[in-house]
């Protein structure tokens, strides 16, 4: 019977350390006060012969002591934990990180690897490699939770959210939706398979779904390119610079909007341009881009983003992206 979860990610040991420090503090104060009450209750119970002369009713020094000291005990924990939080929610962009897209919907998880393999409610990943999840919901708020990794982040509709981790132990682990999302919330669960690099490669090549003529699925970049050529190049292709802004080198650059706002082009920018082009007109261009709502799904948006990113960073392996802007990225002039 387990009382503690596995430590299967790079974050787990540190989260657990902080947990144990807080546990120690909890036990210390709880037992301290409880023992004091028991001791005092026995000693000063009505009818006992204890000395009750001149009972004190206040002691400012004591009040300050038991306010300030516990506070000072809490501050290091706060700082340590805050630092860990910043680290956990600041996805890294190391070369070699694996960028996996997650689409949550009532009531399952659709996952796609950068090399094109797809899975539902399962996540196969190699051990000891940075994994960055880019996530979005098709409907309500969900939350992607792997307890043994100590990671969790809400998955929102209309906005990307990201988190990262590095699995450190081969094995099978639970995946849970952790934000109530309706009827089958408790069934929106899955399994994470952490594999050795060799097993992961084997799994990749064993995946038969969506095979192209090379005997493997199209990578996300390739799928994105196909989408771009058929749906976007008409206006955004080479030689069409007057109609629509070029997307080469777009990623991470700042763009000025027609209303004067300056926005950094990131994943949210691209997604919003596809679905709400009216709100994202670049200065100097007409508002003529149609919305692709209902024609391009969230998975395809991920693929287009991967392709556009690759235009800026052809050297980077498909799968990594530049820092994701936070939701409040837009800056006014």
């Amino acid at each position: 019977m387990r009382f503690v979860p596995e430590q299967a990610s790079n974050f787990a040991p540190e989260v657990d350390y902080i947990f144990y420090v807080l546990l120690a503090l909890t036990i210390f104060f709880t037992f301290g006060v409880v023992f004091a009450i028991i001791y005092l209750s026995v000693k000063y119970r009505a009818g006992s012969k204890a000395n009750r002369t001149r009972p004190p009713h206040h002691n400012t020094a004591l009040e300050l002591a038991w306010s300030v000291i516990p506070f000072l005990m809490g501050v290091p924990v706060f700082l340590w934990s805050a630092k860990l939080y910043v680290e956990m929610y600041s996805p890294k962009n190391t070369a070699g990180a694996l960028n996996i897209s997650v689409v949550g919907k009532q009531w399952m998880w659709h996952i796609q690897h950068p090399t094109g393999q797809r899975e539902n409610n399962e996540l196969h990943i190699p051990v000891n490699r940075d994994i960055k999840l880019m996530m979005i919901s098709q409907d309500v708020i969900h939350s992607f939770f792997i307890p043994d990794f100590r990671i969790k982040k809400d998955v929102l509709p209309e906005y990307f959210s990201t988190q990262w981790f590095r699995a450190t132990k081969v094995g099978k682990y639970h995946l849970f939706c952790a934000e109530y999302c309706g009827t089958n919330h408790s069934e929106m669960i899955g399994t994470v398979y952490v594999m050795t690099p060799e097993d992961y490669q084997k799994w990749l090549s064993d995946t038969k779904w969506g095979m192209n003529k090379f005997g493997r699925p199209d990578t996300m970049v390739e799928q994105g390119e196909k989408l771009f050529v058929t749906r976007c190049a008409g206006c955004h292709g080479a030689g069409k610079a007057a109609t629509a802004p070029s997307l080469a080198g777009l990623f991470g650059k700042e763009r000025e909007m027609a209303d004067g706002r300056r926005i950094t082009a990131d994943e949210d920018y691209i997604r919003r341009s596809i679905y709400e082009p009216d709100a994202m007109v670049v200065k100097g261009y007409q508002n003529i881009m149609p919305s692709f709502k209902g024609q391009i799904d969230e998975q395809q948006v991920f693929e287009i983003i991967a392709y556009i990113n690759s235009l800026s960073n052809p050297q980077i392996q498909a799968g990594t992206t530049l820092p994701t802007a936070s939701r409040k990225q837009e800056t006014k002039q």
């Binding site: 006060v33 706060f78 860990l84 109530y180």
Partner: protein, 541 residues
């Protein structure tokens, strides 16, 4: 002098109409108690369903939708129609004017109106339960509640909207009463700490409740008119809903805990025969909790996509708000030193409160701490934490106060022996129910799940068994208290030998509270140094 008994507030006027048109704060307090009991039963039954379902890993007792409705109704009914009003609207209404030496609250008609608004809101709530139920969770997160749920969300938010006004009215009434209606000599720092607690609570009620009103109003508007304020598909921001919701709902938890803390101060002072240690610090800590409680709400959004900078500010402030609570606990403990301690049943509840509040409050730190919150958010750890403070502490405090003032309210003594047993049974049952849930949460069991992975079953079974014991404890309490109303021994003015204006008048008090004009001539809790035995001893059962 005739031997005929002076009429007290219970028998001065008889008949339902006299109750429904009463302006007497004491009767209004009892009327609140009756409505609260109804909702306690509704919410408690839902808890029984939940714990029964969770005995087995598969969702075999209830359908998914039925389970989702069960936990939603459990939360909504118990938060809005039990926890928020319990101590202020029942014990506060009854005791506050007595404690400050007044004849009634400042606005008795407003007080009666607040009960009607409360009850009408409650009727809407019951209608929501009957006509389709609600399955959004008591937190009504969007866009699920606005655009996806097919249940009676509009009825439910209407119910919450209406009932919120009763909170505002009560808070307004208490603030004016405490400012303006104190008897001669009753300066601010001679007030019982229960009054300070209710004052701080009233500030929260008045300032925070309008925000939930506008929030649920917008949810209702969105459901009815499809406006898109919180629906991201229409350009709205679901995180804005979370901010607005928690801006009220976090201070709301301090509405739920501050008055019971005031009750504990009264009980500890009485049964230690001693002024509460650090009276001023305890008084100020109530205000500090109220104020700081307004600026920590976003700790409910740590995993929702807050900026890391904001998250750090809110985490720091959440650590800070723990300090005034700790100050209270330490001061209560210090009151035991050189006291003369009696262990009647209210003291059982008070000591139980202190133990459970320590655990509940300290486990809040695991959630205030950012790195660990990522793991614990939306798991059973959170469920355990808030039940320790809301049930283990707030309800136990409420029961302690109900026992403490029962002789005053009803003029009868309850069965003391049974009451002590009930306190112990509730304490043990509670711990068996909720302590395993800390472990479940650490292991990763998410909340609001009705089917779960097999390895969690042992802890769930333990929790459900504990819940049975806890439920039995509540039923026992209900039984002997109800029994005492008809068959209990007559209570003297001051069965506990306590200090305070309410103990100087009859049990039950006359309609105008006092036959004389109370004047405060001494400090609060001026128990005599030579520890005179209390006047009359209560009967034992």
């Amino acid at each position: 002098m005739s031997i005929a008994q002076k009429p007290n507030y219970l028998d001065s006027e008889l008949g339902i109409k006299s109750w429904l048109t009463t302006l007497d704060h004491k009767r209004i307090g009892i009327m609140y108690l009756l409505v609260i009991c109804v909702f306690f039963i509704v919410g408690g039954s839902m808890a029984a369903l939940i714990r029964a379902e969770l005995l087995t890993p598969k969702g075999d007792l209830l359908t998914s939708d039925a389970y989702n409705k069960a936990f939603t109704i459990h939360g909504v009914t118990l938060v809005f129609w039990v926890l928020i009003p319990a101590v202020p609207a029942v014990l506060g209404n009854f005791c506050l004017p007595l404690m400050i030496g007044a004849r009634d609250v400042a606005f008795p008609r407003l007080n009666l109106l607040s009960w009607y608004v409360f009850t009408i809101g409650g009727v809407f709530g019951i209608m929501a339960v009957i006509f389709g139920g609600i399955d959004t969770g008591w937190t009504f997160y969007t866009p699920y509640s606005t655009s996806f749920s097919h249940t009676s969300v509009v009825l439910a938010v209407t119910a919450v909207f209406i009932t919120g006004f009763s909170s505002i009215m009560t808070g307004l009434n208490f603030i004016v009463t405490i400012h303006k209606m104190r008897a001669p000599g009753m300066t601010w720092f001679r007030l019982p700490l229960f009054v300070w607690a209710n004052y701080a609570t009233s500030l929260i009620m008045v300032l925070a409740t309008p925000v939930i009103a506008i929030t649920v109003f917008l949810v209702g508007l969105e459901k009815v008119a499809h406006i898109g304020i919180f629906d991201p598909a229409l350009g709205g921001d679901p995180i804005l809903f979370q901010h607005m919701f928690w801006f009220y709902s976090h201070p709301a938890v301090y509405i739920m805990i501050l008055p019971p803390m005031g009750v504990i101060s009264e009980i500890v002072a009485c049964f230690c025969r001693k002024r509460i240690f650090g009276y001023e610090f305890v008084a100020y800590s109530s205000l500090a909790i109220a104020i700081i409680g307004f600026i920590v709400w976003a700790h409910h959004l740590f995993t929702s996509g807050l900026s890391t900078y904001s998250a750090m500010v809110f985490s720091f402030l959440t650590f800070l708000v723990a300090i005034p609570s700790a100050v209270k606990v330490f001061n209560w403990t210090a009151t035991f030193y050189k006291g003369e301690i009696h262990f009647e049943s209210p003291m059982y509840f008070a000591i139980g409160f202190i133990g459970l509040f320590l655990i509940g409050g300290l486990t809040g730190l695991f959630l205030a701490s950012l790195g660990t919150d990522i793991h614990f958010q939306d798991t059973y750890f959170v469920v355990a934490h808030f039940h320790y403070v809301m049930v283990g502490s707030a309800i136990m405090g409420f029961l302690g106060g109900l026992h403490f003032w029962w002789p005053k309210i009803t003029g009868k003594l309850y069965a003391e022996g049974l009451a002590r047993w009930a306190a112990v049974i509730i304490f043990l049952g509670f711990n068996f129910t909720f302590f395993p849930q800390f472990i479940l949460g650490y292991l990763g069991m998410p909340r609001r799940y009705h089917s779960y992975s097999d390895e969690f079953q042992v802890l769930h079974v333990c929790s459900s068994l504990g819940a049975t014991v806890l439920g039995f404890g509540y039923i026992l309490t209900f039984c002997y208290l109800l029994y005492s109303v008809k068959f209990g021994a007559k209570a003297p003015k001051n069965p506990w030998g306590a200090k305070g204006f309410e103990w100087v008048t009859d049990s039950p008090p006359p309609t105008d509270n006092f036959d004389f004009k109370p004047v405060m001539r001494e400090e609060a809790y001026a128990y005599k140094p030579d520890y005179e035995a209390p006047e009359v001893v209560h009967e034992r059962a």
